[in-house]
Symmetry: C3
């Protein structure tokens, strides 16, 4: 029966799906080319380059680390350059028509790749501060190696700091694919646009959302389920959302935000050294060194009859 | 030492685990056969069939799309048919005994496969509306391609719409394996039984739970952490939960539900055009065009002494 | 351009990253050796050993189950022994210098491996109770097989019970890598240190956090987003967190905790048979058979003007 269906009916379904794809992507050139998987592969290579003793598959001797790091760096540069070129070429409509790589796209991609590669040392140095913040921030952490081997916040912030660099260099698609990979692995959703200071730590990870235009200072600590989000957003005269406005809060240095707290709005600033309690819902600024907490736990307790189960 | 343990003691452990498995599955025939991995493979093929320009591994020319889609569709039909046949045969106890595929199971599996395959065009068309809803619903979205490449809600709703079709065709196991794969990838837990209208969007994704008997209208938008769940459930006279009752809410057209809101109960209906604020806890219906929000933010702010860290 | 960068500039980046790694791991010997992937492989083998009819790739006949289980058990024993040896040797500084496996490390690793292997029958037997708890706890569950094939709580609790055994045997790194793998797959974050009784069920899974020093009785049921966490923690005189204090709550037998509830503190005990309502925030003990719930739903409803969208 299935064989018959394939012979006689599958053709209609093929036509149907091709037609829908055509109509949908009319204005958008095809830019997939397995990009998602390639970007994820690069992110894994960057991890292995940053933390070779953790991610390489042998217990490598100190004297060989250099060889491993070098191999990874060369591979990252070549692969990333390839993807960025493909993205620019696919977006460059004229060029698409003759299928040759235009020199402008190629040069732009190369320049961006080199700027990005030269930023990796700086990123790695900031990640050292994040590892220390995790160790100091969690009594359950027994060593720095344990943090590297098993703390999801390190994976999430590594990827976000890398993606943010590409975001600042105006690379389309790739940064967001990176942070969504982190989101899928860790439950932490940080937009590549967010600016985040040193010594950043998120404990327990799942459910954290940090929006595109957030600005976060140094030494900030979040717990699971914290949202740093937008209040609502403006529509343009056609009823479409206006893109690119500052919509997410500012968190100053040394702030702690406990589990499930929600802080919203582009003009909301949490002043330096403040502590925001669990489940607090905040849509306006608080001054430096504020302690914000839900007042009297508002629940009732009833005694039930004893029950067996 | 380990070699000795394997020679002398491992046997007891083997016996023990085999015995536990035997006792547990006495009434249930074996229906695993690597089904989970096979189902996940099919879901990935359906994605590639629906969005070839995103998921295929080359930047494919418009003229070749048809070939790719055709290959995927044939593969999906054959593989899915194989799994559905195996499920029905494994559940058909009589047949199990002589290990031949009974004609009834085979024909039923074939008929269901064909009905399902013929629904894929309709599903793909609805997914076009979800992509538009995501673009209109998030100011951070820069293009439709970005949404396809990096928005977890698209992966979750694609899989749920596919799984729902199989659920409606009374295919056991497979729909739920599909939606739990989506849950694992995206943090969005939508039961395959839920009925969901067009233009559906979930922003930030993580922690959303939508129960089996939910009915959701067109143009509904949710944020992270929203639960559309059950209040509590009836037990039968043996103390077991009664299955198959309407336990989850109805959400009418054009409703927006903000982060962390919880809406419970099978006779709870959120009227058309309503807005439910963040963290609201609702267990009864609200009329059309309601705006429901937590009143006065109930927290206190204290000034702390300045502290260094 | 990229070729030139690799020839002329990549060397500086290599030096930079090697230097950072050196300085960071000065006190810590290298203990990565691809450990993370190896540990994940072992966890998958344990799953296949526990539930062969679900995880093996053929619809296996009852008479062959024994062969499959035996193969898995031998493989688990050998692989785990290898990793535990590597961890102990890498942590044994003296030994590291001459690169020979010291007999003490080897014997300790062997003894631990055997103790662990001998506990697998006990763990599997407890998992049978968890499967029953899931079936009884969710009206949407249609069969035990459906639970094994698609309930994330089963994956999470299987891994945690295995990791807890290794945690109790003082194996470093490995238990936490296991539970973080479960966290990544299911959104459930249970520390390997937590002690959990029989018949444990978590519905919908995502966002649950259970801390290191939690003690949970029999027949406890949680919903998504529940936190069993720490209040705050003591710092030692150098300002570092004091490790190893009881910081997380006790949950007695037959307790149900609804979605989003937060229970904090090492001296907080939820008495037997209690029900904790959704979103409740509790930082002190409640007696047996308490029902704790947020009082009067505190929200307002406004009627909006009808709007089109």
């Amino acid at each position: 029966m299935i064989k018959k269906w394939i012979e006689n009916e599958a053709g209609n379904l093929v036509d149907d799906i091709v037609k829908i794809n055509d109509s949908e992507l009319l204005e958008h050139k095809l830019s997939g080319f397995g990009m998602k998987n390639k970007v994820i592969e690069i992110i894994k290579e960057i991890n292995a380059c940053f933390f070779p003793s953790i991610y390489e598959s042998h217990a490598i001797d100190e004297e060989y680390i250099e060889i491993y790091v070098k191999k990874r760096i060369n591979s990252i540069a070549v692969k990333l350059n390839g993807i960025i070129r493909e993205v620019f070429v696919n977006m460059c409509h004229d060029d698409k028509n003759n299928m040759n790589v235009c020199d402008h796209c190629k040069n732009k991609a190369d320049a961006i790749t080199i700027k990005f590669m030269n930023s990796l040392g700086k990123i790695r140095r900031i990640l050292s501060t994040d590892i220390v913040a995790a160790y100091n921030g969690d009594p359950a952490a027994k060593s720095l190696e344990e943090i590297l081997l098993s703390y999801p916040c390190i994976e999430a912030i590594t990827i976000q700091r890398v993606a943010h660099e590409l975001f600042e260099l105006n690379v389309p698609f790739i940064p967001r694919i990176m942070t969504e990979y982190a989101h899928s692995q860790t439950g932490i959703d940080i937009h590549p646009g967010a600016k985040i200071g040193k010594y950043f730590f998120i404990d327990h990870a799942t459910g954290v959302v940090i929006g595109e235009t957030c600005v976060i200072g140094n030494n900030v600590k979040l717990y699971q389920g914290v949202t740093l989000g937008a209040k609502s957003f403006e529509l343009d005269i056609d009823g479409n959302p206006i893109k690119g406005i500052k919509r997410h809060p500012n968190i100053e240095d040394n702030v702690v935000i406990y589990a499930g707290a929600t802080i919203l709005g582009g003009d909301t600033t949490i002043g330096e050294g403040s502590i925001i309690g669990g489940n607090v819902w905040l849509t306006k600024s608080v001054p430096k060194f504020s302690m914000v907490y839900n007042n009297t736990p508002d629940f009732d307790i009833k005694r039930m009859k004893e029950r067996n189960s």
